[in-house]
Structures are given as structure tokens and as C-alpha cells.
Amino acid sequence: MSDPQRDSTSLQEAIDLVELHASAAREPVKLWLLGVIMAVMFLGGMFLWANSGGFSASVYDTGRVTAGKGSGAPTPPPNPRMISRRLYMQNCAVCHQADGMGIPGTYPPLVGSEWVLGQEWHGDNHLVRVVLHGLQGPITVEGRSFNNVMTPWGGVLKDEQIAAILTYIRSEWGNSAPPVSKAFVAQVREETKDRKAAWTQKELQEIPRQVSPPPVPEPTPSTVAAPSPPAG
């Protein structure tokens, strides 16, 4: 097709095209190509033979049909760590990021933070207060200063959920600190029920440090009462 003006094929060229290919169709087939085709068909056939359920209309993929009343098997309890992670991702990760590193200069990190781990003057009661009512004004985290506002979560999250999130951030990303119990969150919430405004670092520093008691094992909640920490 050297001449672009011409309209494609002349009759002779069309005849040549068909004749050319008619002879080519009788040539021997390349063996490697045939081998690959046979191998692919064999694999496909074996898979179909093993997974077609005899082409019966009533055979379903058992691995996937587990929902519904008839499945019988008891549902395993949800992994509490997964629930905590989900709560963190839903509520906290927007600012503190999924990796807990925050955003330098804007949102403080949770990884290795003395606020989270309860080091120096920081206690568990301070951490719960921050989550319940929020935080504002200049603060210092890991030697760096931040000046931003954290929104209060006390109205959004239940005690149980706050405890789950705090326990999660204290044990994720290499952080290692004891869990925060639901009872402790409830206690701090009760102590601060008249508080409306967000806390500042200065105010928090004036409150004595408290530590959450270790959580009570679930099956015997009534026999062992949580020891009440010293009032402050």
C-alpha cells in the first residue's frame, strides 16, 4: 500500500490474499506452539474436572457458602484486636495516620509518645481525659512542640471503645504499655462529667498521675472488684 490515495484492495489483490493464505493453512504447525496449546488445554480441563461438581445445579462452592441459618458451624468470636484496629482506623487515623506517626508539626505522633505510654508526668488518667474532652493549645510531645486542637470523643465513643483504642495504640507499632480498662475510662468519665472545654497541657500537669488497674478477666466480673485508685 504505497499509494495512500488508493482505496484498499483491487480484486486481484483480494484474490491473492485469499489464495496466499489458503496455501499457508496447509503448512505443518510449529511444534512448540502446539505443545503450549495442549498444555494450556490440559490444565484448564483438569481444573474443570476437579471443580465443576459434576455440572450439577445443586453443587455450590462449599468454601464460600457459609452465611445463612443452615450453615450450623458456630461463628468464631471476633478478634478484639481487629475491632480495636478498626475503631482506630475509623476515628483516629485521619490525623494520627494509620502508622501512628502523625504529621510533623501538625498532628503529634503516638509511636513512642510519653503521653501514650504514660511516662514522665503523664498518667493513664491524662490520656483518657484527652480522648474524652479533647486537647488544645501548645503541647510538647517527644521534645517537639505542637499547637493544634484535638476534638473531644467522649460524646461519640463509648467507654469500651475508648479503652479498646487506647489499649491498641499502647501495643501497636512497637509501643508497649499496659492496657487501659473499660472500668477506668468509666471512672475518669464520672470524675470529669462537668468538664466541657478541651484540656490544656498546663491543666493536665496539675492533676496527679494515675494508672489504670489491670483489666478484670471476663468470666468472673462480679467476684473481683476493681481496686479503686487513690482519689485525686
Binding site: M1, P4, Q5, R6, D7, S8, T9, S10, L11, Q12, E13, A14, I15, L17, V18, E19, L20, H21, A22, A24, A25, R26, E27, P28, V29, K30, L33, V36, I37, V40, M41, L43, G44, G45, F47, L48, N51, S52, G53, G54, F55, S56, A57, S58, V59, Y60, D61, R64, V65, N79, M82, R85, R86, M89, Q90, A93
Partner: protein, 464 residues
């Protein structure tokens, strides 16, 4: 006409005495309206894409909401761009491969007019809220019926051209053309009857819908596009396809597996086990026709220096063909489908198929016939070249972004620690980049639109 031997037919000249060939003009008119639909459909999908990234965009305009824009865009691309060109291509190529032409294209022109009008009104009905949520079956019944009648009016000539061919024997392109021509009414009638007019019981609808939506691509647009590639390559180079002895196997394996391919989307769905398995196996076995077509085309292209525009189109088209079906095969592997079935990777498969494979191949044939209307127009050549490159770059970059985003999205969706809305947030940057790819594709479509309409205007001002 069958008894005329090739030699005597040749001496008679190209066509019977006194005939002029109306098919290039028919293809020109068809391309003009189809390229308009290509631009319109892409614009609609891009607006929808902007709304995904920024939901406030045009939020108050009811007929431009996401749920209406997407079906409008996809229907415009499939029925307006792909199918309309495919019909004209079937007539044109069957004429060229048979050495015959049609006496009058009056019926065909009426059919194109009716098709365009029905599609326009149908899209307006979708914009007014008349969609039904069944992919590619959203057009209201009056539009579907009109389109089907218009198809019949065109297909009558297709049958006549094939039946009355003067060249004995058939070529691979003719098989694909005739197969596609037979599949279109099968698909449209079955889909509309079983899902829209007399809906079958609920559980059976999902596999039928998957078969139909897959079939519109795999059984209708893909065979015609392959026919174009198999026609252009030996025509331009004057050499035969490299592995033609396997092409019959390639054809039958393509038609057999393509019909079942759509069920690959049902892996993990509430269907009997054999349906999902057949869907996966068919998608996997599509490797065979892809391999055969690839060897056929690239075996000839190897070492060639005549890279004319239609040839480059065909090479890019066969590349997109391989990419589409290999990606679809990977996506249908049951463990992979379990994670990635409902991610942007499925969008990437559709984009590679419709935007890459079909657009490049059919565009190649349009550019193959345009020069006879253009009288050596240097700008037209440039527009055609830009169309090719912008389409390749746009589709390629958008598909890569969608696949990368889809991988992230799939893992995020199957992680119980991540809420669903976040799995969508992770994909946003990739969707934004894919949107840029779509914009490049739109620029390419606009180049094709300009080239076709310039040729049409020149033809109307100075008829030959």
C-alpha cells in the same frame, strides 16, 4: 455470481459495469457519527470520574448524577462508537474480501440514521432517570427494538455480500466478521428478553447479565476488531500471516471460550460451582487464541519497516487485545477473584478492551480508508498519528493506575481492620491519575473526530 471465475471477474474490471462502490462513503458517514459518540461518551465518563474524585462536582444537576452518567457514557461508547463502526466495517470488509459491492446503500443510510436517533433518545431517557441498572441493557425498549431493526437492515446486505462473493474461499477476517454479525442479534435479543421484557427468576439473572455484558465485548466487538487487524496487516505488508495454519483453531477457540468468558465475573458468586469454574477456565483458555493471534501478527510485523498508520494501529490493537484477555484471565483465577473481583482492576479490563483494543483496531480501519477522501492532507495524517499515540498513552497510563489502585483496594477490602470507606480513600490518588489518562484518551478521540469530520466536510464540499 458464484459461477464467475476469478480470472473473468478480473477482466470485467472491479465492479459490474456502471456500478459505483458506495461502501467507503457509508463507512465515512458511519465513522463521522460514531466518532461523535466516542467523544460524547468519553466526556460523560470523565464527568463521572471527576465526581468520584470530587463528589460535589455538578451535585445539584439530577440528569448529570453519577448513576446516570456512567450508563450513558458506556452505552454511547458500545452502541454509538463500537457497534456503529463495527456494522459499517462488516459491510466494507465483506465487500473487499468477496470482491463484490452493494448496488445501493440507501437502506444502510436509513439504518444508520435510525440507529443514531434511537440511541440519542435512549440516552435522553437514561438521563431522565429511566435506567434499569443492567449493564448495556439500560436503553428503553423502543431504542433497543429500533437498534435491532437497524441492525437487520444492515445485516441483510452483509449476508448478501458474503453469499454472493466472487472470490472463492474465505479468509480468517471473514470468519470473524460473520461470527460477530450472527452473535449481535443473539446477544441483544436474549439479553433483553430474559432480563428486561420477561425477566427470569432472580438467581438466574446474574449469570445471564454477566454473559450478556461480557458477550457484547467478547462475541461482538472483539471478533470484528480482530477481523480488522487480520485484514490490515497482510494488506499493508503484502505478506501472509505468520501462523495462518493455526488460525482456524484460533477462531474456534476464540468463539467457544469468549462465549463463556463473561461468567468469570461470577467466581465466588451465588451460582452453581460449575458456572464459576467454566467462567474461570474459559477466561484462562483465552490464552490460546491470544497466543495464536499474537504469533500470527507479530510474526509478520517482525523486521518490517513500513510502519504506516493503519499498521501501527493494528500492532497496538493486538497488544491491547493480549493485555485485555491476559488481565481478565488473571482476574478470574478464583483466589485472585476473591480479593480483586470488585476493584478498579475490573474497570481496567473494560478500558483496555473497549478503549484500547476496539478503539485502536476500528480506528485503524477508519484511517485506512480516509486518505481517499482527503487529497493528500498533511494535517490529517498528523491528526491520525496523534489519535494513535494519545489513545495508547491515555489507555495505557489509566490502565496501569487502575490496576495499581485496584491491588491496594483489594487488599484493603479484605482486611477486616479497615473500614470499607477507607479502602476507597486509598484508591483516590490512583483514580485521580487514571482520570488524567482518560483526559489524554479524550484528546486522542477528539483528534479522530476532527480527522473524520474534516474528511467528511471536504467530501461534501468537493465531491469526487
Amino acid at each position: 455470481m458464484n459461477e464467475v471465475s476469478p480470472r473473468s471477474a478480473m477482466q470485467d474490471g472491479r465492479w459490474p459495469r456502471g456500478w459505483t462502490d458506495p461502501l467507503p462513503r457509508l463507512l465515512l458517514w458511519c465513522s463521522a457519527s460514531a466518532s461523535t459518540w466516542l467523544v460524547a461518551g468519553t466526556v460523560l465518563l470523565i464527568i463521572a470520574g471527576v465526581q468520584v474524585v470530587n463528589p460535589a462536582f455538578l451535585a445539584g444537576v439530577s440528569f448529570l448524577t453519577f448513576g446516570r452518567l456512567v450508563p450513558m457514557g458506556i452505552n454511547a461508547l458500545v452502541y454509538g462508537w463500537g457497534s456503529l463502526v463495527a456494522l459499517a466495517v462488516i459491510l466494507y470488509l465483506l465487500s473487499r474480501l468477496g470482491g463484490v459491492t452493494i448496488a445501493s446503500a440507501r437502506l444502510a443510510y436509513c439504518a444508520i440514521g435510525a440507529w443514531n436517533l434511537a440511541l440519542l433518545l435512549g440516552l435522553c431517557a437514561i438521563a431522565a432517570g429511566g435506567g434499569n441498572g443492567l449493564l448495556l441493557l439500560e436503553l428503553p425498549p423502543f431504542a433497543s427494538v429500533t437498534i435491532l431493526l437497524a441492525y437487520v437492515a444492515m445485516a441483510i446486505w452483509g449476508y448478501a455480500l458474503f453469499r454472493g462473493r466472487r472470490i472463492p474461499g474465505t479468509f480468517a477476517s471473514s470468519w470473524y466478521l460473520v461470527a460477530g454479525m450472527l452473535c449481535f442479534p443473539w446477544l441483544v435479543v436474549t439479553g433483553n428478553v430474559l432480563l428486561v421484557w420477561l425477566p427470569i427468576p432472580g438467581p438466574a439473572q446474574a449469570p445471564v447479565a454477566a454473559w450478556f455484558a461480557g458477550g457484547m465485548m467478547n462475541l461482538w466487538l472483539a471478533p470484528v476488531s480482530l477481523a480488522v487487524i487480520f485484514y490490515i496487516v497482510p494488506q499493508v505488508l503484502g505478506r501472509r500471516l505468520a501462523a495462518y495454519n493455526l488460525s482456524l483453531l484460533g477462531f474456534w477457540s476464540f468463539m467457544l471460550f469468549a462465549a463463556w468468558c463473561g461468567l468469570g465475573r461470577m467466581v465466588g458468586g451465588p451460582v452453581p460451582a460449575w458456572m464459576a469454574s467454566v467462567g474461570f477456565v474459559s477466561s484462562f483458555l483465552m490464552i490460546i487464541p491470544v497466543l495464536i493471534a499474537g504469533v500470527n501478527v507479530f510474526g509478520v510485523l517482525k523486521g518490517t519497516s513500513e510502519w504506516t498508520l493503519p499498521l501501527r494501529h493494528a500492532a497496538a490493537g493486538i497488544g491491547a487485545f493480549a493485555g485485555t484477555y491476559l488481565l481478565a484471565a488473571i482476574l478470574a483465577v478464583p483466589p485472585v477473584a476473591g480479593i480483586f473481583n470488585f476493584t478498579d482492576i475490573a474497570v481496567a479490563v473494560g478500558l483496555l478492551g473497549l478503549g484500547g483494543f476496539v478503539t485502536l483496531s476500528l480506528g485503524g480501519l477508519i484511517q485506512f480508508i480516509l486518505p481517499q477522501f482527503e487529497h493528500r492532507d498533511p494535517l490529517a495524517e498528523k491528526l491520525g498519528s496523534w489519535h494513535l499515540w494519545l489513545t495508547v498513552i491515555g489507555v495505557g497510563s489509566a490502565a496501569v493506575c487502575l490496576v495499581l489502585g485496584g491491588i491496594l483496594q483489594g487488599f484493603a477490602q479484605s482486611d477486616p481492620g479497615i473500614v470499607f470507606s477507607h479502602s476507597v480513600d486509598y484508591v483516590m490518588p490512583f483514580r485521580f491519575l487514571a482520570l488524567l489518562g482518560f483526559l489524554i484518551f479524550l484528546a486522542g478521540a477528539a483528534c479522530l473526530f476532527l480527522r473524520v469530520h474534516r474528511a467528511l466536510a471536504r467530501y461534501l464540499i468537493t465531491p469526487p
